[in-house]
Every structure is written in structure tokens, then in C-alpha cells.
């Protein structure tokens, strides 16, 4: 029995160590970034676009990247939403009787989720070349949308599936069409879940660099049309880090802090939103 007890205690400790490593990694990442980033963070970073010489250490900020990322994120999420919601609704039993079809679509969606963003970026670039498009906000939005579609669709699919058949049948029994049921009953019921899914996809979109690298370009200005190139936070961080000037590298850390703060904000608000809005749904 002693050997068995020893084995149990040993593995329990090992498991706790692993747990500690995982939690510790999260803490370490946020802490290190904040430690180097916060001192370099000032108001100018967040409110100004890069002035001449910004990459040499002179004035300016990364407003272009912050606004750019927001434009990209909002645009991509909107496009992805318009495509994902219909697909997620279609996957429900009202629309497809054949189980193999929904299984197949879901499998494809999972596969799409697995495709790395660099591949979407490369593909986006190829398509843009084909149509003679230049790097632009539009290109970035399309590439990011490709990335977000599987995430958004699968998340919404999971949420919509939880709506009980009884609720939907009740709606049909009153003579509603499938579309009316979808809009008035299903979506209302799953609104918190859908909003959460949207927020999470948005967060994913802002954080990605590889897909916008070839498609959105980079610029120091804030674009005024979707055909202009646009800066993004991840690329701003990357480029600033690549300069030989320590002041600029410090700004990279500050930018990273801003990005992390943004992600934490999105994560927190999606959780809070879920908790708050779930009050209004039927059980």
C-alpha cells in the first residue's frame, strides 16, 4: 500500500506542478509585457499617429495602428457575421434533414478553423493579385474574415443548438415560418451567446498578424477609404521591435501592453455580457 500511496501522491504533485506551470505562464506573459511596456506608455502613444522620425525615436504614437486594427476587426467581424449566422442557422434541423450533410459541414468548419492564418494571408494575397487589388483595408478585412468565419460559425452553432426543440416547436405551432422563428425566438434566446461569439472572433481578428501581413499593408496614416493600406497593432509591434533603437523598441513593448489590455478587456466583457444577458433568456 505504501508504494500505491506514494505513486498517488507523486502524480498528484506532478499534476499540481503542471497546473502551476500553465497558470504561471499566463501570469508571466502578462507581467513581463506590462513590466517593460507600462513605463514606455504615455498618452501620445495612444492619441497620435507616427510623426516623421517616429521609427527613429521621435514623436508620435500608434493611433494609426489602434484605429487600423479596430477598422480591420470591425470590418472583418461584420463580413464574417453576415456569412456565419446564416450558416449556423442552416445547420439546425429545420433546414437540413440529412444528418450527413450537417456532419460534413461541421467537419469542414473545423478544418477551416485549423488552417493557419498565414495560409489565409497567402491565399488572400493571391486573390488580390488576380483581381488587381493593391494592399488595402479591404484586403485585410477579407483575409481576416476568412479567419473569423469558422470561429464565429462554430461558436454560434454551439449556442444555437442549445435552444430546445420545444421552444422552436411552440413557435411553429403558432404558425411562424422558419425565418420568423429564427429571428424572433432562436436569436433572441441565444443573443448573449451570439454576442460573446462575436466578441471573441473580434478579439481573434485584432490579434492576428500573419493574415494581414500581405493583404492590408502598413501605413502611418489612418485610412480614409477601404482601398488604402492600413496599419494594425500586431504589425506595429513587429515593426517597432525590428528597429535598432531602444526607445522605439520600448514603444513596441508599450504597444504590446495596449494589445494585451485590449484582449483582456474583450475577454472580460464577453464573460460579463454572458452573465448579465443570460438573465433574460428562457430556461
Amino acid at each position: 500500500m505504501n508504494r500505491r500511496k506514494f505513486e498517488e501522491t507523486f502524480f498528484k504533485l506532478l499534476m499540481l506542478a503542471c497546473l502551476g506551470t500553465v497558470v504561471g505562464s499566463l501570469v508571466a506573459i502578462i507581467a513581463v509585457i506590462a513590466w517593460r511596456g507600462l513605463p514606455a506608455l504615455d498618452l501620445a502613444m495612444v492619441t497620435q499617429t507616427p510623426k516623421g522620425g517616429f521609427y527613429l525615436g521621435k514623436e508620435g504614437g500608434i493611433l494609426n495602428a489602434i484605429v487600423g486594427s479596430v477598422y480591420l476587426g470591425v470590418g472583418a467581424t461584420a463580413v464574417a457575421f453576415v456569412i456565419s449566422l446564416p450558416v449556423a442557422l442552416y445547420l439546425q434541423r429545420e433546414y437540413t434533414r440529412r444528418a450527413w450533410l450537417t456532419g460534413f459541414i461541421r467537419l469542414l468548419l473545423d478544418v477551416l478553423w485549423g488552417i493557419p492564418s498565414i495560409v489565409y494571408g497567402a491565399f488572400g494575397f493571391v486573390v488580390m493579385l488576380y483581381f488587381g487589388m493593391r494592399v488595402s483595408l479591404l484586403g485585410g478585412i477579407l483575409a481576416l474574415a476568412l479567419l473569423e468565419i469558422p470561429i464565429l460559425t462554430r461558436s454560434m452553432d454551439e449556442v444555437i443548438r442549445t435552444v430546445s426543440s420545444d421552444l422552436r416547436d411552440a413557435s411553429y405551432a403558432l404558425g411562424a415560418t422558419r425565418w420568423e422563428t429564427a429571428i424572433k425566438v432562436v436569436i433572441r434566446q441565444t443573443l448573449p451567446g451570439i454576442l460573446t461569439a462575436v466578441l471573441l472572433a473580434f478579439g481573434r481578428g485584432i490579434g492576428d498578424a500573419a493574415s494581414v501581413l500581405f493583404t492590408a499593408g502598413y501605413t502611418d496614416r489612418i485610412p480614409t477609404s477601404i482601398f488604402e493600406p492600413v496599419a494594425s497593432l500586431p504589425l506595429a509591434i513587429f515593426f517597432q521591435l525590428g528597429t535598432p533603437f531602444p526607445e522605439v523598441q520600448d514603444r513596441a513593448y508599450a504597444s504590446a501592453t495596449i494589445l494585451v489590455a485590449l484582449m483582456l478587456l474583450i475577454s472580460l466583457s464577453s464573460r460579463l455580457l454572458l452573465k448579465r444577458l443570460t438573465k433574460y433568456v428562457a430556461k
Binding site: A122, A210, L213
Partner: protein, 286 residues
């Protein structure tokens, strides 16, 4: 009434179009990349592309082996680090952790998954490569950073799989006098092998395709690594770093898109296999 019927019909048609669009994305991506790879596939035999080591685009030499091996080394190291840690963590969360611990840790794991890759890269530089423990820009740094990115993926899936093991079977094991750990070993893990395998495959898939974080810490030297302290140059980094020169050198763009095609095919295979396995597991339980 006509208006309502029309709206329903329109909505349905729209849905079908969107589904068709999404379904065809995989096809389009594959075909698009393949078409753009044809030039280089046409002028260089496949085994030369895949198995030679000389990468001099301006001279027309495109040996991908260093990049393929770079990817293999970093992915393998990341897997070796991440898999045990993830599985043990998942086991703890599923079998041992009190509800409050689980409720606190699970969001943390999700947060870890949500941190943008470029931030991982910055952290890697600050904590691993240039500062902190200063291990340099090599496979080791890339592997550690990737491992932390893979952990949330494997942990989340493995934990779910472990939780599907029915309580009855676990209790049956306890009732003959097995300890909790013996039950975990012989019953929980054993029942979950397929799901765990799928989780691991998906973790590897994530590592394989990760671009930004690895690029920043792995060194980017086009040589086959001989140890984890050597620098490497994984495929995604190759594509990301060189897109700018694509226009000036003939066949360079085709070469890079061929690299993208390679990534696409491998990851496609990984994901299809893993998802099919998971589907089987879920159906088996239901």
C-alpha cells in the same frame, strides 16, 4: 401572407448560398495555392524541392528541406513539452480539482489561448531569447513559446474528453479498492485514448501553422538544425519574412506559395483525422 412566405424563402436561399460559399473556401484555397505553385512544380522536380538543402532563389535553387526540418524540430519540441503538461493539467481539472479551482483555471486557459501571437513573440524575446533566461534565438526558444501556445488547445479538448468518462465506471474501479490515481490511470485515460490522440493531433496542427510568435524567436537561419540550441527557419516564417522580395526574383512567389500549399496540405490532413476521431468519440458516448 405572401410577404412572410417570400421573406422565408429569401432567407433560406441566402442561407444556402452562404453555406455553399463556406464549403467551397477549402476548395478555393487549395486550388488557388496549387495553381500558383504550378510554375515551380513545373520547373523543379518534387523530390528536389522537398529534399535538397540549398536555398538560393536568385540562382533558382529552391531546396525546402531546411525549412521543413525547421518546422519539424520546433513542432516536435513544442509537442514534447506541451503534451505531458496539458494532459496532466487536464486530468487534474477533470478528476481532482474542486469546482472552484476548475472555475478559476478554465478561463485562464482560455485567456492563454486568446493572447495574440505577436505578444507571445515579444514575451519570448524579453523572457527567453534576449533577456530573462537568455537562451538565444533558436529551436529551444521557439519550442517553448509554441508549447505555451499549444497547451490551451490540448488541455481544453483533453479535459472535455476526460469528463465524458461515465461516473459509473470510475466508481466501479474505486469499489474494488483502487486509488483515485489508479482509477485515472487505468480507467479514465484508457477510455479516452482516442480523444486524447485527437487533442494531441490538433495541438500539433496549431504548432505547425503558427507564424508570428515563432518567427520572432527562432533565429531564421536556413540550415537544418542539429540541436535545439541551433537556430531554425520554419516554413511559416519563410513565407512571412520574404513576401516583400517576391516580385523581384522569378519563381520566388511560386516557391513561397508552394510552401503555403505544403502547410495547407499537412494541416488539412491533421485536422481531418483529428476531427473524425473526435466525432467518433462523441458519437460513441451518446
Amino acid at each position: 401572407m405572401f410577404g412572410r412566405r417570400f421573406a422565408d424563402l429569401l432567407a433560406t436561399k441566402f442561407m444556402v448560398v452562404m453555406v455553399a460559399l463556406v464549403v467551397s473556401i477549402v476548395l478555393f484555397v487549395g486550388i488557388g495555392l496549387f495553381l500558383k505553385s504550378l510554375p515551380i512544380l513545373g520547373s523543379h522536380p518534387l523530390n528536389e524541392l522537398l529534399f535538397t538543402t540549398s536555398w538560393k532563389p536568385s540562382k533558382g535553387e529552391f531546396g525546402f528541406l531546411p525549412f521543413i526540418m525547421g518546422t519539424v524540430w520546433v513542432t516536435a519540441l513544442a509537442g514534447a513539452i506541451a503534451v505531458p503538461i496539458s494532459l496532466l493539467t487536464a486530468l487534474y481539472l477533470a478528476e481532482y480539482a474542486p469546482e472552484r479551482v476548475r472555475a478559476t483555471v478554465k478561463p485562464m486557459v482560455d485567456l492563454l489561448a486568446g493572447i495574440p501571437p505577436v505578444v507571445y513573440g515579444v514575451w519570448g524575446i524579453l523572457a527567453l531569447s534576449a533577456g530573462g533566461i537568455s537562451i538565444g534565438f533558436n529551436v529551444l526558444a521557439g519550442g517553448i513559446v509554441l508549447a505555451i501556445m499549444v497547451i490551451p488547445v490540448v488541455t481544453a479538448i483533453a479535459e472535455e474528453v476526460f469528463r465524458t468518462v461515465p461516473k459509473d465506471v470510475k466508481e466501479a474501479s474505486l469499489c474494488v479498492g483502487a486509488t483515485q490515481w489508479e482509477t485515472a490511470k487505468h480507467v479514465v485515460i484508457r477510455s479516452s485514448l482516442a480523444g486524447v490522440a485527437a487533442a494531441i493531433i490538433l495541438g500539433f496542427s496549431r504548432a505547425f501553422g503558427e507564424t508570428m510568435a515563432v518567427l520572432m524567436v527562432v533565429g531564421n537561419i536556413a540550415r537544418i538544425p542539429s540541436s535545439i540550441f541551433d537556430a531554425a527557419y520554419p516554413l511559416p516564417a519563410l513565407i512571412a519574412n520574404n513576401y516583400g522580395e517576391v516580385m523581384s526574383v522569378p519563381l520566388y512567389d511560386s516557391a513561397l506559395l508552394f510552401a503555403a500549399l505544403l502547410l495547407f496540405v499537412v494541416i488539412l490532413l491533421f485536422n481531418v483525422i483529428a476531427r473524425l476521431v473526435l466525432l467518433r468519440v462523441q458519437r460513441g458516448v451518446a
